[in-house]
């Protein structure tokens, strides 16, 4: 073996271990240590079906196919308070903790998952509006040693929100003002750019759906200089641009987001001058009310859940400027949050959005197997019915795997 071959082999081996190669786990912050093996456990953040009553729960589900308890809830870790409205979660960069946000009380819960099968509630951050000047925390998103939390509104639940920054163990660092109601965060470190999507204020999303004021919704995405924590560009499109995904390939300059308010998919793209263009990539062909957007690890497919349309859609994005709907999985009443595995082969789906808009009579988690062509088929071996929880029916929302 000559020296060049030897070096190439070593380089290949090293590349396989470098963090840059660990980012194939989709829809998480690129700073998080990636899961590069089949999942063994799933964490589900859920609230009682009787909203405002009972404690929110981090459920631990066995998703190891070889396990005799496959598909069963193994453990339920309760928080010490009620009425929180469990919603989204995020790992810290080192994957040892999960931050779980609550929409109604704005409490932030930190679970220690260093023992992956036995999460423990390590800390509860109370009085978040007073601490941060912000309310309605939506998505915790890891940066090195810290968590950014997109917050919908000001401290009284109205007006524009921002992004709150904490250390991994829950010490407040700073708040960064936004001009809209931040929903979700995506970061591309190569470009020092962060994009936050938007939705409505806390006061609106915690009101009954028929009381939502359309004027309170925002239709903007903010482009931030990540290091400066400053908004450098506002992208204007369709209303309520919820989930956003930046393509995973290193130096990929584009990504997509869904517009819940206009049934559309939008594309954001960094142009040669560093500014971003923003255009509609596709209309979703009927009243879908998209709730979540997931991406395949090879940047070839997007998956869209339809909260109103009760289906999951697969979109082929291999031609980025001309995306097309290629498959649907139907009968998923109020499909909402999804989680795709590191290999792009398994897509877990839950069906509770927020207690204020939920209409499903039954809450569940189902599994779609994904073929190499992006097409979906329900796995009948996996089905979890949350109407039979020991403390009463529950609404499952966000999921994470370990």
């Amino acid at each position: 073996m000559n020296q060049i071959t030897r070096c190439a082999l070593v380089c290949a081996a090293l590349a396989g271990l470098s963090p840059a190669a660990s980012h194939s786990e989709t829809c998480l912050s690129p700073y998080i240590k990636g899961l590069r093996q089949p999942e063994k456990v799933m964490y589900v953040w859920m609230l009682p079906a009787a909203a405002g009553q009972g404690r929110d729960v981090l459920a631990v589900i066995d998703v190891n196919l070889a396990s005799p308890t496959y598909g069963k809830i193994l453990k339920r870790v309760q928080v010490g308070s009620a009425g929180n409205e469990a919603h989204h979660m995020g790992f810290t960069d080192d994957r040892t903790r999960i931050w779980a946000a609550s929409l109604n009380t704005s409490r932030l819960f930190i679970f220690d998952v260093s023992d992956v099968m036995n999460p423990k509630l390590a800390k509860t951050i109370e009085n978040v509006p007073k601490l941060t000047g912000l309310s309605g925390p939506h998505t915790p998103y890891a940066i090195p040693g810290r968590i950014l939390v997109s917050m919908a509104s000001g401290p009284d639940g109205t007006g524009p929100g921002g992004v709150a920054e904490f250390t991994n163990d829950g010490e407040f660092v700073a708040s960064h003002a936004a001009t809209n109601h931040p929903y979700e965060t995506v970061i591309k470190p190569e470009f020092n750019r962060m994009i936050t999507s938007s939705w409505v204020s806390q006061k609106t999303f915690m009101s009954p759906f028929d009381k939502w004021d359309p004027k309170d919704s925002t239709n903007t995405m903010l482009v931030w200089d990540l290091k400066a924590r400053k908004v450098v560009q506002t992208l204007t499109g369709d209303p309520i641009p919820l989930a956003a995904r930046w393509m995973l390939k290193p130096n990929a300059k584009y990504g997509y987001n869904i517009s819940n308010g206009a049934n559309s998919i939008w594309m954001f793209k960094m142009e040669d001058d560093g500014s971003f263009s923003y255009r509609k990539a596709a209309d979703i062909p009927y009243a879908c009310a998209p709730g979540d957007l997931r991406q395949s690890p090879d940047d070839k497919y997007l998956y869209v859940s339809c909260v109103a349309g009760s289906e999951v859609q697969a979109w082929d994005i291999s031609d980025p400027e001309h995306i097309r709907l290629v498959d649907t999985a139907q009968g998923f009443v109020q499909a909402n949050m999804m989680h795709l595995t590191y290999d792009g082969k398994r897509l877990y789906v839950t069906n509770s959005a927020i207690s204020s808009i939920d209409y499903s009579k039954r809450y569940m988690m189902r599994l779609l197997q994904i073929g190499p062509d992006g097409r979906m088929k329900e796995d009948q071996r996996f089905f979890i019915d949350f109407s039979k929880e020991p403390d009463g029916p529950a609404r499952p929302h966000d999921m994470l795997l370990n």
Binding site: L17, P144, V173
Partner: protein
């Protein structure tokens, strides 16, 4: 027994470094994140080094191990480039320091660390490689949230949080970088900004 792999890794790191550069920000937000936990460790000559010895200077603090197959040699390569940049601006070694702490003191003896430092052309006047016996190092690693665990199915390679800390002249952590996305040009700007603070 694990071997120092920095030779081939350095070549790979240099090759990887030829990839497109990350963008930098001229006006970084460097909020106080936390007080930098104090430590006392030993340099490769066996002298005690306290973090507080660097008060009045800005410090870039990296946790590494010499048998690391991936990001550690890359970060050391980038710190070498940063050392050159700081020297060119007249900040190194008097106003800016670089510190590399091994998380694997059993393998990384003082001799091994010295050899590693030479490989990256570390100037001992301002770039220290520190270690301590495992039991004494343990609380320091814990204070910086630097756990280690053996990676399965490897030749004893370690997994650890891939972070680099920037400490200001008052002893506060002002930035935490990811090793994977570390950009020495941004770090140079950040250090310059901290040194310009009154």
């Amino acid at each position: 027994m694990r071997r120092l792999i920095a030779g081939p890794a350095l070549a790979c790191a240099l090759a990887a470094h030829a990839a497109p550069e990350s963008a930098v920000s001229a006006n970084p937000n460097l909020s106080v994140i936390a007080r930098a936990p104090e430590f006392t460790l030993k340099d490769t000559a066996g002298r005690a080094v306290h973090l507080s010895d660097y008060r009045g200077q800005v410090v870039l603090l990296a946790f590494i191990f010499t048998t690391c197959p991936g990001v550690c040699p890359l970060i050391s390569t980038q710190m070498s480039a940063l050392q050159a940049g700081l020297k060119a601006e007249g900040l190194f070694p008097d106003r800016a320091k670089l510190v590399s702490v091994t998380v694997d003191p059993k393998t990384d003896t003082a001799e091994v660390l010295s050899r590693y430092a030479r490989m990256f052309r570390a100037d001992p006047a301002g770039w220290s490689f520190l270690r301590e016996e495992p039991e004494r190092l343990k609380p320091v690693l814990k204070a910086y949230d630097e756990w280690t665990r053996l990676l399965p199915n490897t030749k004893g390679w370690l997994d650890h949080p891939a972070r680099v800390y920037l400490v200001d002249p008052k002893g506060n952590i002002r930035e935490i970088y990811s090793l994977a996305f570390f950009n020495e040009k941004q770090a140079l700007i950040d250090m310059r900004v901290l040194l310009a603070e009154k």
